[in-house]
């Protein structure tokens, strides 16, 4: 038996934090498209069930396009059972929007619900929606028959021990030795699989598509092959995102011009084999000389044609060696010395003020 475990699809996510409106709309459509592609993948690879471990939608407000596409995709694939567990981002809006719940869409509530996943009930899926109310009590209520292959699905943040009154907390210690073969989790946006106890593993598949630059790396779903007779569960992570996000940290210390900085960035990027469809955030780090010339707009333009999206973030600081200006009789020297001595400018701001003055004297753009 073969099933897919995915989570945190965040369909209808606005995507506007980095992208302009047009591209945000495009990425939003890509998120939905990736979900549909995953279902196509399932159909082509004899997958009989798809587990959606929470946060299928980004908000309770679901657009008509997304609602209809998800519904039609589910109803068009009657041979695949969709087990949809609501996450902290989901509300009832999707299910309540359905005039008739498709037979192959199974869902859960705040009590433990079990579904046999094959005819002879040798694979059982059990899940519950965690809430502040049931979080501490649900673990004791979970009693699983040791004979079948047991899959348990939850949405929340893993912790070793429980925390009172927190809805999205999964106390792993409470789930050990509960006859769980595979603990299908959702909430954390990057792939992670570790042993749960002597019998089972717990796994976060991560989100299906990276959305922001806090979601870099590979994204996709987990393909689970279950042998109920041999009581064997094999898992493999399937990278599936249509685009990947990268954060390229570049130390530009010592650079004096934008061209030198661009060279450093090129050097850093060339070592990472980044696809042109990717979204790239270049983070400039290090300390620059106060008289160094740096133009982030130029740097963005310099690289934006190479990738789907490029953003340059400047985290550099300026080094001011006041000793260099101590004996400088020029206006520049006098200016630096006066800023150094100024009490109405914070130490943090002084390099920037100095830089502005020096650029003004040098006739550079400030």
């Amino acid at each position: 038996m073969r099933i897919i475990h995915c989570a945190d699809l965040h369909l209808d996510s606005k995507m506007t934090s980095n992208l302009d409106r047009m591209r945000a709309k495009e990425r939003k459509a890509e998120l939905l498209g990736t979900f549909c592609r995953m279902v196509d993948y399932a159909k082509m690879h004899d997958v009989s069930a798809i587990l959606i471990a929470g946060d299928m939608f980004d908000t309770g407000s679901i657009s008509a396009l997304t609602r209809n596409t998800v519904r039609d995709t589910i109803t068009a694939n009657k041979d695949i059972d969709f087990y949809y567990l609501k996450g902290n981002h989901d509300r009832d809006s999707f299910l309540s929007s359905l005039e008739e719940v498709p037979d192959n869409l199974k869902f859960f509530d705040e009590g433990w619900t079990s579904y046999p996943m094959n005819n002879d009930a040798s694979v059982i899926l059990t899940a519950t929606e965690l809430s502040a109310k049931n979080n501490n009590l649900c673990y004791n209520a979970l009693v699983l028959d040791p004979k079948p292959v047991n899959i348990v699905m939850l949405h929340g943040q893993e912790v070793e021990t429980g925390t009172r009154d927190k809805a999205e907390i999964i106390a792993l210690r409470e789930l050990k030795n509960k006859n769980i073969d595979y603990l299908a989790l959702g909430h954390i946006h990057s792939y992670k699989q570790k042993p749960l106890d002597g019998r089972g593993v717990y796994c976060y598949p991560g989100c299906l598509e990276g959305r922001g630059f806090d979601e870099t790396g590979e994204h996709g779903f987990v393909l689970i092959d279950i042998d109920p007779i041999g009581h064997k569960v094999d898992t493999s992570f399937v990278p599936f995102a249509s685009r990947r996000l990268y954060e390229v940290n570049t130390d530009v210390t010592g650079c004096m011009t934008s061209a030198e900085i661009a060279d450093k960035i090129t050097e850093e990027i060339s070592g990472q084999d980044i696809d042109s469809r990717s979204l790239v955030k270049i983070v400039l780090k290090g300390q620059l000389d106060i008289e160094a010339e740096k133009d982030t707009d130029y740097l963005t333009k310099r690289f934006e044609d190479n990738y789907y999206f490029v953003k340059v973030e400047d985290e550099t600081g300026y080094i001011v060696d006041y000793a260099d200006y101590a004996l400088d009789a020029s206006l520049k020297g006098e200016y630096v010395r006066m800023i150094e001595a100024a009490s109405d400018i914070s130490e943090l701001d002084k390099p920037e003020v100095i830089r502005m003055g020096l650029m003004a004297i040098a006739g550079e753009q400030i």
Partner: protein, 780 residues
């Protein structure tokens, strides 16, 4: 440095002008309009080029202002020494700077030198043209001075280092431009606009915060509506079940009714068959045979009519008996009679022709007589011939008698002879022809008459023969020949023969029909006896009634059979026992009530579904608004960050501007004291009074203590302003040029001084001559 000489090719009013200069003061005294200021300008232009190149007005555009009055090469040369070296500058000027030429030669070798470029002024004096004109070069009525970035740089001794003091004004300008551009208080400032955007976004975000609540409320409403819909759907399902149950009972009930109806019909049909069977006391006849009988009965009726029709009346019987006797020798042959009648008709025709022929014969006889008489008469042509003979004879006589000459007489006789010949010929021909014609006519008439006589004879013979035949024919049937009525008699005989034959046929037909009638009657009676049917002789009616009864019977049997079949089929298809035991289901509602309630619930469901659709549409609309609101939230966050960072940057720019100004003032403050000392020295030298009341600030502005405060020197008299300006220039030059001193070009700087100050100025000039070469222009 020192200017050694100059040569002006053409420059303003000066042309072919040469002048040598010595060390110390070179006073050039001339009346107004002699070219003093032009020479001063020439010296400056040789070092710096023209001022006001872009100006339109000739007074401001020096290139135009100093264009040679008399034409020719525009320019000249100037020889100067700098340290140990002597150079010759040669410049010519065109209409624009690109047409200018510059050449510098080393005076000692006369070779072109690249020690200085065409910017030789700036390279030599280390200041730009503006600064030069504010220090070593005093233009006409332009004594008052102020410092420039270049002067400050030179005074600070940093010109050769970074020259950045020179950029102060521009740098400050850039910072101030940025302050204006990014100002949070000016309406054109980017921060001001950004703050406006942020305020608008905050308002939208605040106003839009209710959207999510509205969506949640709407979703709750939709949830309630769905629950209500589900509840009503359950009610409808329940009602539908009841409806189905009652409907099934109704269906069964209908089936039972149908079964009863079929049974009843079956019984009715059987009864009908029995009633119909009564019409047949014996066997039920075969329809085919009955139909044959009925057909025969129809024929029988016709035969009966024929029997009646062909029965002979008494008169006919008598007639037939008479005819039998009359025609004992045989029935006249119709053909023969007819032939005879035809011949009689020919006989009558012959009679008529005979009369006509005889009349014609008489005419012909008359004609023959007439022709014979005509034959004897002289024809008209013979008469003409004879007349001609007579005329010829008369003419011959007349000619003999009357003609005067023989010739004429002979001519006359000749002509008469000719006429005579013609007359004889005509007479002979006429007589011959007349005779021939008459004989031919007689012949024709006689021939015709012969034919007529033959035909008359032939007719008489034929008529006698016909009469004989008629007589013999009539005589055979005892009838006498009457030539007048023979044809009528023959026709009457023929009529009698016809009637005789007709009566004989009628009698024969009657006998045949009567025989056939009896035959049918025997058959009918036998058939009816077999069916035990009593009938009169109206067999048609009897068989017709029997046929109708049989058809009715057969139809009744068919109907009974079909009814029985339907009943059998129904019994086969249905559980008859269950139908017999059918009972009304127990329910508090009738089917009508259920239907009514169902319609009500369906209407309610439609209403709720419509409401859900409306709510869904509203939800979609609100979701769109929420999306925009969320975008506004993101935009607000971004713009708030931009505003915060912008304000921080704005503060930094302001600090940069503030401290740049302070730095510049700090630098200039360093040479304030030596500058003031120099100024005081020169001031005292001219005025003989201390300069205690004068102050100089970091921006090199001189103020004077007057009326209990420091006043701007612009408030002083022009003479004092010039004096202060001159002294300040000298102090600045001292500070700027510690080693190599520039040449002082002074275009009447003391024109506004009073006599006392002018004396002081002369003393100062004498003093200065020890250190400076001066070219001093003044009026006589």
């Amino acid at each position: 440095m020192r200017i050694i000489n100059c040569h002006i090719e053409n420059f303003g009013r000066l042309s072919g002008y040469d002048r040598d200069f010595t060390d110390g003061c070179n006073a050039i005294m001339a009346s107004n309009g002699q070219g003093k200021s032009t020479l001063a300008a020439f010296i400056r232009v040789m070092f710096y080029g023209f001022e006001g190149e872009g100006k339109r007005r000739t007074g401001e555009n020096e290139r135009k202002r100093y264009e040679p009055w008399q034409g020719g090469v525009y320019g000249g040369r100037l020889t100067f020494s700098d340290g140990e070296k002597t150079y010759v500058i040669q410049r010519t000027f065109g209409n624009k700077s690109s047409e200018d030429t510059f050449e510098l030669r080393d005076a000692s070798t006369n070779l072109v030198s690249d020690a200085y470029s065409e910017n030789i002024g700036e390279e030599l004096f280390k200041v730009n043209s503006e600064s030069y004109m504010r220090t070593a070069y005093i233009g006409q009525n332009d004594v008052v001075t102020h410092t420039t970035d270049g002067i400050n740089s030179m005074i600070g001794g940093i010109a050769d280092n970074t020259n950045d003091l020179d950029s102060y004004e521009k740098a400050l300008g850039r910072l101030n431009d940025l302050i204006n551009k990014e100002s949070p208080t000016r309406s054109t400032g980017s921060l001001y606009k950004l703050e406006g955007d942020v305020t608008a976004l905050r308002t939208r975000v605040r106003d839009g915060s209710v959207i999510l609540d509205s969506i949640h409320r709407l979703e709750d409403n939709m949830e309630e509506s769905k629950e209500e819909l589900a509840k009503h759907s359950d009610i409808r399902k329940e009602l539908a079940k009841k409806q189905q149950k009652l409907g099934a009972y109704k269906d069964r009930q209908a089936l039972k009714s149908k079964y009863d109806s079929l049974s009843e019909e079956c019984k009715e049909r059987d009864d009908e068959v029995k009633v119909r069977r009564v019409a047949f006391p014996g066997e039920v006849p075969d329809m085919e045979k009955l139909n044959a009988m009925q057909e025969k009965a129809t024929q029988y009726a016709k035969i009966c009519e024929s029997v009646t029709f062909h029965t002979l009346t008494h008169e006919e019987t008598d007639k037939l008996a008479g005819y039998d006797k009359k025609f004992e020798p045989g029935i006249p042959d119709m053909n023969e009679t007819t032939e005879l009648i035809r011949k009689l008709r020919d006989h009558d025709k012959s009679m008529s022709e005979d009369t006509s022929d005889k009349a014609e014969l008489k005419v012909l006889e008359s004609e023959l007589d007439a022709v014979k008489k005509d034959k004897k008469r002289l024809p008209s042509s013979a008469t003409v011939g004879m007349a001609l003979i007579l005329i010829a004879m008369i003419a011959a006589v007349a000619s003999v008698i009357l003609m005067p000459s023989n010739a004429l007489r002979w001519v006359g006789v000749g002509i008469s002879a000719l006429i005579l010949i013609a007359g004889v010929a005509v007479t002979a021909f006429g007589l011959k022809k007349h005779k021939s014609d008459c004989e031919m006519d007689i012949k024709d008439i006689e021939s015709e008459m012969g034919k007529l006589r033959n035909r008359i004879d032939s007719g008489e013979r034929y008529r006698r023969s016909v009469m004989e035949q008629a007589r013999a024919y009539l005589d055979r049937y005892g009838m006498a020949l009457d030539p007048v009525s023979v044809t009528e008699d023959l026709r009457y005989l023929h009529t009698m023969a016809d009637e005789y034959l007709r009566l004989k046929d009628k009698k024969s037909d009657h006998e045949k029909a009567a025989e056939q009638k009896n035959k049918y009657k025997l058959e009918f009676d036998k058939y009816l006896a077999e069916l035990s049917i009593v009938s009169d002789d109206d067999y048609v009616k009897t068989f017709s009634r029997l046929s109708m009864d049989l058809r009715s019977y057969d139809e009744a049997v068919a109907r009974a059979s079909k009814a029985a079949e339907r009943l059998k089929d129904f019994e086969k298809e249905n559980d008859i026992e269950a139908l017999k035991n059918l009972a009304l289901p127990e329910d508090d509602m009738t089917l009508e009530q259920i239907n009514e309630k169902l319609a009500e619930v369906t209407g309610r469901i439609d209403e709720i579904a419509g409401r859900i659709r409306d709510e869904s549409d509203q939800h979609d609309a609100l979701a769109e608004k929420l999306e925009l609101w969320e975008e506004d939230q993101v935009s607000l966050g971004v713009k708030e960050k931009q505003l915060f960072e912008g304000k921080h940057r704005y503060k930094n720019i302001k600090n940069a501007s503030k401290y740049l100004t302070l730095a510049k003032e700090s630098i200039t403050a360093k040479y304030m004291e030596p500058l003031l000392t120099g100024f005081s020295k020169y001031y005292s030298s001219v005025t003989g009074a201390p300069a205690d009341k004068y102050h100089i600030d970091a921006n090199t502005n001189i103020t004077v203590d007057e009326l209990g405060g420091q006043r701007d020197t612009s408030l002083l008299s022009t003479g004092y302003q010039d004096l202060i300006g001159f002294c300040l220039r000298l102090a600045l030059i001292d500070a700027m040029y510690e080693d190599e001193k520039p040449v002082l070009v002074l275009d009447d700087p003391f024109v506004n001084l009073d006599a006392e100050r002018l004396e002081g100025a002369k003393r100062l000039m004498d003093t200065l001559a020890a250190n400076y070469q001066m070219i001093y222009f003044t009026c006589r």
